[in-house]
Amino acid sequence: MNLVRAELERLSARRFVQLMVVLLVFAFAVTAATTLAGSHKPTASELNSARQQAVDARRSMETTHQECLDRMKDRSPTDTSEYFADCADLDPIRQERLPIAADYLPGVFSFADQAESLLSFLIAFLVLFGFLVGASYIGADLTSGGVVNLLLWRPRRLTVLTAKLGTLLGSVLVLSLLASAAYLATFWVIGQSTGLPGRLDGDFWRSLGAVHGRGLVLVLLASAVGFAIATLGRHTSAALGAAAAYAVVWELGGRLVLEIIDVRRSDQLMLSSYIGAWLSGESRFFDPRLCAGTSGTGYCSGLYTLTWAPALLVLLGLTGGLTAAAFAVFRRRDLI
C-alpha cells in the first residue's frame, strides 16, 4: 500500500501528466464555450415548427416505404432494375432513429442528441492520454534510473512493476470517471439552460452508459499497452514509435497491399476494425465475395459484421500478451 501511495504521488507530480490534464481541461472548456455560444433556448414558434417538420419527415418515410412495397408487389419476377431491392431498408421501424423536433432546430444544442458524440470525443482523448501517460510513466523511470532507485528499496521486481501498472490503471480510471462525469454534467446543464435536454429516458442513459463503459475499457487497455511497450523497449519513445509504425506500416501500407493482392476480409486483420467494433457494439465491412453466388438473383449487401465480443477478445489478447511479455522481460532484465 505504501508503494502504491508513493507511486501515486510520483505519477501525479509528473509534468507530462499535468500537461495532459491541462490539455483535457482546455479542450473541455473550448468545446463547452463554443457550444454555449452557439446555442439558444428555442422559442415556442421554433419548437412548433420543428415538431411539424419532424412529423412531416416521418410521414414522408412511411410514404416512401409504402410506395416501395407497392412497386415490389407489381413488378415482374425478371425486373431487377429497382434501386431499392429490399424495401425493408426503407421501413421506418427498422431505422436506427426517426426524425425528431431537435433535428429541425438549428443553433439549438440538444443534450440527448449530441451526448454520445461528445462522449466519444472525450474517450478518444482519454485513450490518447492513457497511452501516452502509461508509456512515459514507466519509460522515463527506466531511463532516469528511478526504477533502479526504487528496486534498491524494494528489491521485488514484479511487485514494483505491478504497483506501477496498478497505480497507472487506477489513476487513469478515476480521472476518466471524473472527467466524463464533469463533462456530461456540464453539457447537461448547457442543454437545460440554453438548449434542449432532449428525451432523457432509460434507453438514452442505458445507451450512453454502454458507450461510456466500453470507452473506459478501451482507455484502460490503451494505458496498459503504452506501459507494456515502453517497458519492453525501455523508453517512452518505444511505445510512441511502435504505435506510429503500426499505424503507418500496417493500417495504411498493409491495408493497401492486402487490397492489391485481394486478400479476403482484410479489415479483420486491422486493429482499428476491432476498436471500432468494440466501441460501437458492431462494425460492418464489405466483402464482395459474399455476393458471388447471388448475382442477378436478388439483393446482396455484401456486408459482414464484426461484433463487440470477438473485438474484446482480440483487444484483451493483445493487451494481455504485451503486458505478460513486459513482466517476463522486466523480471530477468539487467538494469544498467
Binding site: 505504501n2 508513493a6 510520483r10 507530480a13 533502479v148 526504487l150 534498491l152 538494469l335
Partner: protein, 332 residues
C-alpha cells in the same frame, strides 16, 4: 567477525549485437566483515559497478554465490533490504521534486518513518536546501541527496558507489567524517571510489579489482606493506659517489636528480654509517612508503606505457602468482 557481504566466483558477461560478448566480472571474490569500512577499488570498466549491481539484484549474475547480511542474494535480498542502504553510480532523481519530497517518497515506499527525512538531510548537509527542486541542485548536492537516500533506512550495511563524485573538497571531507561516524556506530560500509587518498584515509580494508578479477584484498596497511620495497630517499652532497659507496655495501641506489633512492634497506642506519664513514654527510633520509595510489596503479597495470594514452581495457589481469589476499592468504 561475521561476514556482511560474501561474493564467491561471481561471473557476469554482457552480450550485445554491436559489441558482442564482454566479460565484465570474471570469477570475482569479495569478503566484507561486520564493522569494516571496506574500500572497493578498480580502474574504469574493471567491473566494480557490475559487481555491486549483481550484489543488489539489479544485474543477473551468470554464476557465483553472493550473500548480504547472511542471506543469499538476490534470491532472499528482500529479507534484508530494509537494513541495506545503497547508491549505485550517480542515481538520477526526479528533477521536479524537492529533495525533501524525493526522500519522503522513498521513505514511504520503503516503510520508513517520514520523520527520518529531516534527520538524513541534516546529516548530509542539505537541511537548508531540502525544499529546493532537485533539478536546481549541483552535482555534489545530488550526490549528497543520494547518500541521504541510502541513509534513510538507518542501515546496518551501507554500499556507496563513488560517493565523492562531484563533491567539493569540503564535501569530500564531510563525507569522510560521515563514514567514520557511521562506522563508529557499527555500520558496515562498502565504498567504491577513484579518490585513492580518500580510501586510504577512511578505509580499514580494501579489495582491488582489475578486469573483473580480484587482484588484492585485505587490511589497507597490510596490502601496502606487501608492496613496501624498503626504499629511502637520501640527500647527500655527492650523489654519484654516494651511489657507488652504497653499491659496494650491497645496497641498490639510483641517482634521482640531486638525491638518491636506495632500496632494499632493512636498517636505515646502515646508509648513514656507510656514507658517514667516507665523509659524506646525509642531510635527509626519508622512508618511501607505498601509498594506495602507487599500489593500485601497479596492480592494475596503469603504470605501463606512460607515453601512450591508456585505454580502459588496458588494465592488468592479476599475476598468477600474486593475487594478494591478506584475509585468506595468497591465492595461487
Amino acid at each position: 567477525m561475521s561476514a556482511v557481504i560474501e561474493i564467491e566466483g561471481l561471473r557476469k558477461t554482457f552480450h550485445s549485437l554491436r559489441s558482442g560478448r564482454r566479460v565484465a566480472v570474471d570469477g570475482f571474490d569479495l569478503l566484507v566483515e561486520a564493522g569494516q569500512v571496506h574500500g572497493f577499488l578498480g580502474p574504469n570498466g574493471s567491473g566494480k559497478t557490475t559487481t555491486l549491481r549483481a550484489l543488489l539484484g539489479l544485474v543477473r549474475a551468470d554464476s557465483g554465490r553472493m550473500t548480504v547480511l547472511g542471506e543469499p542474494s538476490p534470491e532472499l535480498l528482500p529479507r534484508v533490504a530494509g537494513q541495506v542502504g545503497a547508491i549505485v553510480e550517480s542515481p538520477q532523481f526526479f528533477g521536479n521534486f524537492t529533495g525533501h519530497r524525493t526522500l519522503r517518497l522513498l521513505a514511504r515506499a520503503g516503510g520508513v518513518p517520514v520523520s527520518r527525512v529531516d534527520e538524513v538531510l541534516d546529516l548530509v548537509g542539505l537541511h537548508d536546501r531540502g525544499d529546493d527542486r532537485v533539478k536546481g541542485y549541483s552535482l555534489g548536492m545530488k550526490q549528497r541527496l543520494a547518500v541521504a537516500s541510502a541513509l534513510l533506512k538507518d542501515p546496518r550495511l551501507l554500499i556507496l558507489d563513488e560517493p565523492a563524485n562531484g563533491l567539493d573538497p569540503a564535501g569530500i571531507r564531510e563525507m569522510r567524517d560521515l563514514m567514520r561516524s557511521l562506522a563508529a556506530n557499527g555500520v558496515t560500509v562498502l565504498v567504491s571510489s577513484h579518490i585513492l587518498g580518500e580510501i586510504q584515509l577512511i578505509c580499514d580494508h580494501v579489495t582491488i579489482i582489475s578486469r573483473g578479477r580480484r587482484v588484492a584484498a585485505g587490511p589497507v596497511d597490510e596490502v601496502l606493506a606487501g608492496y613496501d620495497r624498503h626504499e629511502y630517499l637520501v640527500r647527500v652532497t655527492e650523489p654519484e659517489r654516494a651511489a657507488e659507496l652504497l653499491h659496494a655495501a650491497d645496497l641498490t641506489a639510483v641517482v634521482d636528480g640531486e638525491a638518491l633512492v636506495v632500496s632494499g634497506v632493512s636498517d636505515p642506519t646502515v646508509v648513514s654509517r656507510v656514507l658517514g664513514e667516507q665523509g659524506l654527510w646525509v642531510s635527509e633520509l626519508t622512508p618511501l612508503r607505498p601509498d594506495l595510489e602507487s599500489v593500485f596503479l601497479e596492480l592494475t597495470g596503469a603504470y605501463e606505457h606512460r607515453s601512450v594514452p591508456r585505454q580502459v581495457d588496458d588494465s592488468s589481469l592479476p599475476h598468477d602468482e600474486a593475487v594478494i589476499d591478506l584475509d585468506r592468504g595468497v591465492d595461487a
